[in-house]
C-alpha cells in the first residue's frame, strides 16, 4: 500500500469514529429499541415485552432480528448504557468488513493491489460510513455475510455455512439473499458435495424458521413488508412492482447523487451512497471481473429489497455496497490524478454535509430524550406523576412536522429502569403507565393538573394560557440545531 492509500484508509477510519456519540445526534427509534432490548435481556433474560430470549424482538412493532441485541447485551453489561456502546458493534463490524472485502477481492481477482484498494475504497464510501456510525442490524449482518462469502469462495464448507446463516440471524434482508447465495454458490464451489453444504445450512437456519412458523403473527415484518401483501394486488402487479423496484435499486442517480437521505426530502445537496467519480472505475471494472459467483452475488443483492414495499431503502440494500466497491477497485488502476482530485473533493463534500449540515438540518427529527431522562432522574423522587407526550417537533403552528416518538424506551434505557417496569406496563386506550411515568398525548383541555406532577411536552405542544398560572416551566432542552425542543412543566 502506498502512502496515499494509507492516508485515505486513515481518513476513512477517522470518518467512522469522529464525534461518534453525537453525530447522528441521538439514538434513532431502531437504535434505542435494540439498545433497550439488549439491556432488558442482560438483567432479566427477557425483552421489553417479557418474551424469554426471543429470536425475534417485537420491539415497538418492528420485530427486529436478534443478532445485534445479543451481541450488544454483554457490552452493555460491561460498559454500561451510552450511545457509544450501542453503536460499538456496528462500528467494529464496519471496520472488520473493510478487512474482509480485501480478502474477498483477493480471492476473486488474485490481484493484491486490487484487494487493498477495495478495502480503501470501502473505507471512504459514504454508504458504509453512514451504516457503520449507527446501530444498524444490517451492518452487523453485512460483516457475517461477507465472512460467509469469503469462506464460500475458499471452499470451506462448514465456516461458509456458519457465517452465512449467522447473517440470517442479523437482518431480514438476508432471509432471502443467503438461501439464494447458498443454493447458487454451493453448486459453483462444492459441486458434488453441495447437498452436504445445503443440509448444514438448513440445520443451522432451522431455529429461525421454526420461530417464524410458531411465533410470527400477522403484524410481523415478514408478513407486512413484502410487495405481495399490498392491498388489492395481483400476481402481475407484484411482478411489475418487483421489476420497477429492482431497476430503481440500480438507479445511478440514487447510487451516486442523492441516495444518502440524511437531509430533508428533495434537498438538492443530498449526497450519493457512493462517491460519484466511482461511476467510471465501476464501468471499467465490470469488464475485468470474470468470476461467475461474483456476478450472481451482485445481481442477487438487491432482490430482497426490491421485494419489499416503499421507496429505495439504503439499509435494506446495504448488501450491494460490497460488490459495487469490488467492481470499482477492479477498474481503479486506470484512474488519473484528476479523477483522484474529484474523488477527494466529493469525499470532502460528503464530510461537510454529514458532520456540519446533517445535525443542523435534521435537528428536530431526532428524539433528544437522553438529557430529558437524566434531568427527570433528579426530580423523580419529588414528582407525584410524570406525564410525557410522545409527540415531538414544532407542529402546532405549522412551523414543523409532528413526529411520533417512543420516549419510554429512552427513559428506561438512560435511567436504567428495572426491566420489569416495561414488561408489566399497563395500557389504556390512550396512555401507557410505567410506574410514575405516563406516556400518551397531553391534551391541556382534558388532562387534570395534579399537584406535584411533571409534564414533558415538545415545543409544539406548550401549555394553553388558561393553565399556565397553575404551572411553572422548570427546564427546557434544545435539539442538535440549537432550537428549543422540549419543555418541562411542573404543577404548583
Amino acid at each position: 500500500m502506498n502512502k496515499f492509500g494509507l492516508c485515505l484508509l486513515v481518513i476513512g477510519i477517522f470518518l467512522r469514529l469522529f464525534l461518534i456519540s453525537s453525530i447522528p445526534p441521538h439514538l434513532s427509534n431502531d437504535e434505542i429499541s435494540i439498545a433497550y432490548d439488549a439491556y432488558s435481556i442482560v438483567y432479566s433474560g427477557k425483552d421489553e415485552h417479557g418474551h424469554f430470549l426471543p429470536l425475534s424482538f417485537e420491539s415497538y412493532g418492528t420485530f427486529k432480528a436478534p443478532l445485534y441485541a445479543y451481541v450488544l447485551a454483554p457490552l452493555e453489561f460491561v460498559f454500561g448504557n451510552s450511545e457509544l456502546v450501542v453503536r460499538l458493534p456496528s462500528i467494529l463490524a464496519g471496520l472488520l468488513t473493510i478487512a474482509v472485502i480485501g480478502l474477498i477481492t483477493w480471492e476473486i481477482t488474485s490481484n493484491r493491489k486490487t484487494a487493498i484498494w477495495s478495502s480503501i475504497l470501502l473505507s471512504i464510501t459514504p454508504w458504509h460510513i453512514y451504516a457503520s456510525r449507527m446501530a444498524w442490524e444490517a451492518n452487523l449482518a453485512l460483516l457475517f455475510l461477507s465472512l460467509g462469502i469469503w469462506w464460500l469462495i475458499k471452499r470451506k464448507m462448514l465456516l461458509a455455512s456458519v457465517f452465512l446463516v449467522i447473517s440470517m440471524y442479523g437482518y431480514h434482508t438476508e432471509w432471502l439473499l443467503v438461501p439464494m447465495l447458498i443454493l447458487t454458490g454451493g453448486i459453483i464451489y462444492f459441486k458434488k458435495k453441495v447437498w452436504k453444504f445445503w443440509a448444514i445450512s438448513l440445520i443451522l437456519a432451522l431455529p429461525l424458521a421454526i420461530d417464524y412458523v410458531l411465533n410470527a403473527g400477522p403484524g410481523s415484518r415478514a408478513n407486512t413488508e413484502p410487495i405481495w401483501t399490498m392491498a388489492e394486488t395481483t400476481p402481475v402487479k407484484v411482478l411489475m412492482t418487483f421489476i420497477r423496484n429492482y431497476i430503481n435499486y440500480q438507479n445511478p442517480s440514487i447510487l451516486f447523487f442523492r441516495g444518502l437521505n440524511i437531509l430533508r426530502k428533495n434537498n438538492p445537496f443530498t449526497p450519493g451512497l457512493l462517491l460519484w467519480p466511482m461511476i467510471i472505475p465501476i464501468i471499467i471494472g465490470a469488464k475485468k471481473i470474470k468470476n461467475k459467483f461474483f456476478w450472481i452475488w451482485l445481481f442477487l443483492s438487491p432482490v430482497t429489497a426490491a421485494l419489499t414495499q416503499g421507496d429505495f431503502g439504503l439499509i435494506r440494500n446495504l448488501n450491494s455496497v460490497l460488490p459495487l466497491v469490488i467492481l470499482a477497485a477492479a477498474g481503479l488502476n486506470k484512474m488519473s490524478k484528476a479523477w483522484w482530485g474529484l474523488t477527494l473533493i466529493t469525499l470532502f463534500n460528503f464530510a461537510l454535509i454529514f458532520f456540519w449540515h446533517f445535525p443542523r438540518e435534521m435537528g428536530e427529527t431526532f428524539q433528544g430524550y437522553r438529557p430529558v431522562a437524566y434531568y427527570l432522574k433528579t426530580v423523580e423522587e419529588e414528582a407525584s406523576e410524570i406525564y410525557v407526550d410522545y409527540r415531538y417537533g414544532n407542529y402546532r403552528w405549522g412551523l414543523g412536522k409532528e413526529y411520533s416518538g417512543i420516549p419510554y424506551l429512552y427513559l428506561a434505557y438512560f435511567q436504567r429502569w428495572d426491566p420489569t417496569i416495561t414488561q408489566t406496563r399497563v395500557r389504556t386506550e390512550d396512555k401507557s403507565y410505567f410506574g410514575k411515568y405516563v406516556i400518551g398525548q397531553i391534551d391541556w383541555n382534558k388532562d387534570i393538573i395534579r399537584k406535584g406532577a411533571y409534564y414533558i411536552v415538545s415545543v409544539g405542544n406548550p401549555p394553553e394560557d388558561y393553565v399556565k398560572d397553575r404551572l411553572e416551566e422548570v427546564a427546557t432542552f434544545e435539539d442538535s440545531a440549537g432550537k428549543k425542543a422540549f419543555e418541562v412543566w411542573k404543577s404548583r
Binding site: I247, Q250, N251, S253, F257, R258, P268, F269, E361
Partner: protein
C-alpha cells in the same frame, strides 16, 4: 430537439421551491465565505440536479422506460452520434421544471430511427 429547447418555459432552477431549498439550507448553517459559497453550492448543485433529473428520466420508468430503451438500442448498435443526441435531448427535457416525459420523449424517436437508415 429545437422544439424541446423552445418549449423550456420554466427551468427547475427558477422554481421557488428549489431556490428556497438552497437558501434555507444555507441561511443558518453555512460555514463558508459568501463568494466560495456561491461557487461551491449554488453552481455545483444545479449541475448535480441536472444530472440527477436526466438519469431519473431514463431510470424511473417514464413512458414504459422509453428513454432507457432508446439508449440501450443505440449503445448496442454502437450508433454513438445518435446516442449523444438523445442524451442532449434528455438533458433538455430534464431541465424543464415539470418535464412531462410522456409527450416529449417521443420527439426523440427520429434520432433512434435515423440510426438505422443507411
Amino acid at each position: 430537439m429545437g422544439l424541446i429547447a423552445r418549449n423550456i418555459k420554466s427551468p427547475f432552477w427558477q422554481d421557488v421551491e428549489y431556490q428556497e431549498s438552497i437558501l434555507s439550507f444555507q441561511k443558518d448553517q453555512d460555514l463558508m465565505p459568501y463568494r466560495l459559497r456561491v461557487w461551491w453550492w449554488n453552481k455545483s448543485v444545479v449541475l448535480k440536479t441536472i444530472f440527477e433529473r436526466t438519469v431519473d428520466l431514463v431510470w424511473m420508468g417514464s413512458s414504459y422506460y422509453l428513454a432507457m430503451i432508446y439508449l440501450l438500442v443505440l449503445a448496442l448498435k454502437k450508433r454513438w452520434l445518435n446516442f449523444w443526441l438523445v442524451v442532449i435531448g434528455l438533458v433538455l427535457i430534464a431541465i424543464e421544471k415539470d418535464p412531462n416525459p410522456g409527450s416529449y420523449l417521443w420527439w426523440l424517436s427520429p434520432f433512434v430511427i435515423s440510426a438505422f437508415i443507411k
